[in-house]
């Protein structure tokens, strides 16, 4: 661990910065508003990196899980092995996974993404399957009976009706990934983990980096929620 920490020296506390009045606050490792104001731009690059790590992991994770779910939807026997496999991936401690991957993929973005994507698979896969299973059987029967092809039944009836469940899975995956991406720093992939682990004792630093994580998670969550509400107007129609 110390090895990795040593390599992340790009982000060391700069206590000399700021007006002299703030020096006392910084020396106490406190929450110093003017230090934060002056040093905020130092967090922009890690934040951008964090967004990239999260969004790429979600897009790839969603694509893989969705494809697996569609495959398993028609071949039910696949569900159990897929859940088991993704479940195993889900249980590997993320730090352990980073270090296991280091000899194979080296330090950097790729290693971080492999780990982050692995953690989204179980969540999204299970929600897509649950969503597809929850589609009313009568709607599917009627669709087939009216002459929709299997593909049309899937894309015009089953997937739209599974959207709320799929979106729910995506939201959980998004918030989880934002949190896990702080560990990407250990794989040398940057992100908000960089400033956090650079100086865990300095409250101003941890507050800003941690706060940005929370903000990012909330924004992603709201974006998925908004997309879901736009795509599923029927769920808001008042029942008779």
């Amino acid at each position: 661990m110390s090895l990795v920490l040593a390599q992340s020296g790009g982000f060391v506390r700069d206590r000399s910065a700021g007006a002299s009045g703030q020096d006392a606050c910084v020396a106490r490792d406190g929450v110093c508003p003017s230090w934060i104001a002056e040093n905020f731009d130092r967090y922009v690059e890690p934040l951008q990196r964090h967004v990239l790590l999260t969004v790429v992991a979600l897009v790839i994770g969603f694509t893989i899980s969705f494809a697996l779910a569609l495959l398993a939807h028609r071949r039910r026997w696949l569900v159990t092995p897929i859940v088991q496999l993704t479940g195993i991936l889900y249980t590997i401690p993320s730090l352990a996974l980073f270090f296991l991957l280091l000899p194979l993929t080296g330090r950097g973005f790729l290693t971080a993404e492999i780990a982050l994507v692995s953690y989204t698979l179980l969540i999204i896969f299970r929600n897509v399957i649950t969503g597809l299973d929850g589609v009313p059987a009568d709607a599917v029967d009627a669709a087939r009976g009216m002459g929709l092809t299997d593909r049309q039944v899937l894309w015009k009836v089953e997937i739209p009706l599974a959207l709320p469940e799929i979106a729910a899975g995506l939201r959980i995956a998004a918030t989880t990934t934002v949190g896990l991406a702080t560990l990407a720093f250990f794989a040398g992939a940057g992100g908000l983990g960089d400033p956090i682990y650079a100086d865990l004792t300095f409250k101003s630093n941890v507050l800003v980096a941690g706060g940005l994580c929370v903000l990012l998670a909330v924004v992603l969550d709201l974006l998925v929620l908004l997309a879901q509400r736009l795509l599923t107007p029927w769920t808001r129609a008042a029942t008779a």
């Binding site: 009313p136 669709a143 087939r144 009976g145 002459g147 092809t149 008042a238 008779a240």
Partner: protein, 398 residues
Amino acid sequence: MTRTTKPDDGGPTATPAASLRFDAVQKRYPGNARPTIESLSIEVPAGEICVLVGPSGCGKTTAMRMVNRLIEPTAGQILIDGRPNTERAPADLRREIGYVIQQTGLFPHRTIAQNVATVPKLLGWSTDRIAARTTELLELVGLDPEFADRYPAQLSGGQRQRVGVARALAVDPPLMLMDEPFGAIDPITRERLQNEFLRLQAQVRRTIVFVTHDIDEAIKMGDRIAVMRPGGRLAQYATPAELLLSPADEFVEQFVGADRALKRLALGRVRDLELEEPTRVRYGDPVAGVREALRRAEVPYPLVIDADGRPLAWLDDDDLHGERIADGIGSEVAVVDRDDILRDAFSDVLQHRVQYAAVTDHRGVVIGILSADAVARELAPPGPAPVQPAEAHHGTGA
């Protein structure tokens, strides 16, 4: 096949109904010792409602689902207009067969208009044509066009079922399959929907395979009824009247029920009976004249009508005093439509103090009187041994 469905006002439709034939159709599922359907051969003439009825496990739904190839038979074939239904790809075949199921199968994520437009859209109709047809269909099934933009969850069960029927009729299919379409609806709404559907069918004249477990519904809806017994064996295929008058065997007799004489009431319409002439009076008429007219009347009570000939009240002896008939007196009149089925009309008659009902035409004008006696006479089975009306009365009172 291209359709040339023109918007019409429910008049004769452009596409002719199809005939349907089950030819020694058999369905076996691997692992089941007994076949689900042993060997089914029935013929449904174009434009008729064929009801498949029987206890659960008799294979009636399986039989229906083989028509549009949701289930493929193990042996035998199904012919539509003389051509095997296996000649065409299942999806193409199904687009020309209306499909209505008990739980409606409406798409919760589509508006009512989008639901109704499902098959027209699959067939590539233009937007204008689809919009016109949707409005027309909603009207046809008695739904306000304002429902078009609502979602199924915003409708009542009865309304949803109407949408289901409208959706199935969208491209005016020559053949329709209906699986317990009114099964999940409360009895009062069900009866109304059944009546509406029969009126609709009189206009559109589609060939319909109708599945139900309810023999009363079968008798009411069917032109022909196929009674099926467990194991998918056809017990009897006959018109409702034949079924009630001469059940083929003990199974059919039991299934049809001991009250089959009474059930025949579901077959007749009020207009089929000989109606009696009422003594029509108005408020303000001289009492003496009414008493005079009543002496020659078939019905012992004068019927008060309004200026348009609509029934208002029955008068009895106590009401006939003074110089003229006083405004607003008398007791409530049971009113039945000439097109009502006898069973419903009879039950209306029995619920009123005066056991006569005023029969009206579609404008609400009185055209005659239906008496409990006339219904009882109808119940007496034909044949050499005449049954006293009193006996029939007895039976109905039980």
